[in-house]
Subunit: 388 residues, 3 copies
């Protein structure tokens, strides 16, 4: 435990954990398991969708792809955000194909037979259709997903009756309020297309055993021994690492990219937090900015990973401050690409018939917790331990 008794300090020696082994390789390659993951996790859990600031005005929308599903995230006339299945109730036509934009008519028009919907999904009208013979507009509202906003981040759930957001995201509740993230704005975005399973990205993010070899610069700024976890169970898992440089940050020269964000103070001025928000988000608050990843699985070994950098709006608008933003983006783009290489090589290697299961070192015990969360969600038994 650290000085305030809250964090679990990792040991300095890291033998293999007795009996703790990785998932079998099929969890990264089997098409049936991937379909189960869509059904039992991506179509059921709260998953990250987009920032509220991306659809600021009435009529603004963004399409969110979740497995085979396309969701229209749209702000209606009352400024409420709705998550609508992108499927006309008449004969199933996809309503909208633009990745983002504004429904300037304040309605959604099916391109096929011109059925028109309000931005909250209600059927406004269908050409030539009278309300008779069993046709009632009220029965043709667009199917909806659930939406929850947390600190400016919009999460959706495609479940009919999702678990309360606060239950799934328990470890996030009250966390990071000093950053006032709802007021931050996107300063930069990079899209990565990767050939690996979505879970390998989460695993990569929750251990720094790989940092000395893979990330020499990162390891200078935040020694891997400083990693500590405060949440090590459930859908939200995370901890922090300590910045060696006084008032530093994760940038190319290790200097802060900007002044501390809103009310960040005390120990947090010397910490970078790494939170996995299972299943599809990685949240990385720094003293001076916030980085996050949005993972979209496209198959067993294929994902899109969108990486965003949030800064204080004044910094974004300050020409003098751009250098700091650029340095933070460059640092993480470099670091991201270092990670993608090893994740893609792990994807390939675990396909071998000789890979039954790997072994977790003491430094990687949180990954074992991630595996447990996955198995619980899938309703799978824990594979036999220590079969070797």
């Amino acid at each position: 435990m650290d000085k305030d008794g809250k964090y679990l300090k990792r040991g300095v020696d890291y033998p293999i954990i007795q009996g703790k082994r990785t998932l079998p390789g099929k969890y990264y390659h089997d098409e049936k398991i991937y379909q189960q993951e869509l059904e039992k996790i991506y179509y059921k859990f709260w998953i990250y969708a987009c920032r509220a600031e991306e659809i600021p005005s009435s009529g603004d929308f963004k399409l969110i792809q979740v497995g085979d599903e396309s969701i229209i995230l749209v702000r209606d006339k009352s400024m409420k955000i709705n998550a609508l299945f992108n499927v006309c109730r008449h004969r199933g036509t996809q309503l909208c194909t633009e990745p983002k934009g504004n429904f300037s008519s304040k309605s959604i028009l099916c391109p096929y037979h011109a059925w028109a919907y309000e931005l909250d999904g209600k059927l406004l009208g269908a050409p030539l259709m009278k309300e008779e013979n069993g046709f009632h507009k009220d029965n043709f509202t667009l199917h909806k997903a659930h939406v929850h906003e947390w600190e400016g981040f919009l999460f959706i759930s495609l479940a009919t009756t999702p678990e309360p957001f606060e239950v799934q995201m328990e470890a996030l509740m009250g966390k990071f309020s000093e950053w006032n993230m709802a007021e931050l704005r996107i300063a930069h975005h990079i899209r990565y297309e990767l050939n690996c399973n979505w879970k390998l990205i989460l695993q990569n993010y929750q251990e720094c055993y790989h940092c000395p070899g893979v990330h020499p610069l990162l390891s200078q700024l935040t020694p891997f021994q400083s990693a500590q976890h405060d949440s090590s169970k459930g859908a939200v898992i995370g901890g922090f690492m300590e910045l060696t440089k006084e008032r530093g940050s994760m940038t190319m020269d290790g200097e802060a990219a900007a002044p501390p964000v809103y009310d960040v103070s005390g120990d947090d001025l010397q910490r970078v937090y790494y939170y996995s928000v299972f299943p599809n988000m990685l949240l990385t608050p720094h003293p001076d900015f916030v980085m996050y990843h949005h993972i979209t699985p496209l198959g067993t070994g294929k994902i899109v990973n969108d990486c965003y950098w949030l800064f204080h709006p004044e910094i974004i608008n300050d020409k003098q401050a751009q250098k700091g933003i650029i340095s933070a983006v460059e640092f993480w783009d470099l670091t991201n690409k270092q990670d993608w290489t090893v994740c893609e090589q792990m994807q390939t290697g675990t396909k071998s018939m000789r890979f039954d299961r790997g072994y977790y070192s003491g430094r990687e015990d949180i990954l074992y917790a991630l595996d447990q969360e996955l198995l619980k969600a899938l309703g799978h038994d824990n594979p036999e331990e220590d079969g070797e």
Copy 2:
């Protein structure tokens, strides 16, 4: 009924048909259903192959792809047209790979071991093979499909014993004889590669509920209310729409592209006919020309659609008349592309888990008849009605 008591005039109000719902989404996406469609429809029904004029001389051939099968449609020395499986009887080598051409030697030579076949499929000779030890040339004739010519259109059936052409195509018998289509010639051809199921093209073609929104120009030339059906059951389904302009046609300016074709007269001078010839042809006779589509399915969500324009040969050879041809081609190319967009969006949307089945309006009742024809051919039960 219209004035001659033959046509079913659609109503003007179009509520949802009580209990009439579309096929479940799997019919557009399920690989197993697609394989059944190949086996029970494309490998069994009479399907459109090509125009007789495309292989006018002895030795002329065209390859026709039907699912996994390649068929050589070839005119032999006696000018008879044969449909030969493109597979050598020796060891299965594909005999011919050119999409079309002429067997100038008046024989088909296997490129592998030089077995030679006559244009009616008989084995002419095999190098070094003597007729002994159980080898008799008569036993090595190329496998054949059936061929039927109707009005210059060649249909084939891969069934061992197909239903008589006249039974499957009952509603075509005697129809359109005034056009003398066998004497028309191809003036233009456009190939479209589309990402949708083949059935969505047929559905799109048999209702004009979508016309006001999707086809503003077409709707000026032929108001959607004018649509009437005279054949609404079985493999051949169709009807017509009325041209608003006196002696007009479907062209960019609505003027006729050419004088009426052969003996077209009376009401037909003001009509455009839309006939679906299940499973893979759409036939659209205008007063002054004929357009048709040839659909080739390549997978659950992938087709090639070849669109042709037939004109009177004198028009094709008349330089002054080219403007009319171009206007007809431009009009339909524009209209086709409008349709392809909505068909592709319907393909995507119907994949959603929230799309159980859609609803047919009164204007779309013919599509329900198409669905029934499909289910009958597949031997599937009718899905439960009104499960909502």
Copy 3:
């Protein structure tokens, strides 16, 4: 039998062999059979991997792809060649992605967590890992495949306990020693990517019934009637053809490309040998050079075929002698491409529903032996003969 009683001279008339038919088409197209072939043949038999000369020095390696497996073929400090599964024992990361190179550190470093292995696979060390709590480096040696060198050719077997090399390759033992192939060197390499099943390449190589039609130039240099087999059973099958030209060879002008190789003499000066080394190598010793193919299956209908030309090192280094090498390469590149065309057309044709099975002529009886070898390896019953 020929004059020394060793070779089986083929007949001059070649009727269909009573009851001998080809494999059913599914053996070239069925994904399940392909997976069985990987498991029961490619992951079990001795298969060709690379030439010893390709990794001449300590630390040199080449990656060999076998189905889903990647094998590092590496020469260690003691100059011994090891075949290591390219999979870290820690968590399954692929260790190496470069197709070939040199481990200059004389160790293999996992890019993820920096576990380091010796070139014989032993775990040298893992950062921070102490040997306690059940972690012992000896238990984390890289998985290994077996290696056998024959005449400079390296074969590997992924089986736990492979059949002795000498048993599988019985017909190669003592064969071709006059060529002293271990001393020959690669003069040229061409990679072909082909759309056909791997077995069609072996079949193509073991009959010259196709030569008159497909290879006019080859047939001048070696008449197809001259083909004789001395090994016609088991994994190694082969024979020779006779060169018409005194001291000729297989080149564009039929002249020798170089003086005879080492101790080649007597009848062998007028022969070209064609040996199939089941499952993935074709070996073609000429009097003056050796050509061989290395087949890598990538799917039911997809292979990479690497073709190499071996010459005496003095010829390779002699500027005056390049013309001969070029002529041999040109001849075989031309001949290869002639073969690839018919192999790819056989792949397509055998997919037809009308291809149940083909028929072997007397000239193709060795292919029947190849089929038997395959069926035995797969544990499949012989398909019913003469079902027609």
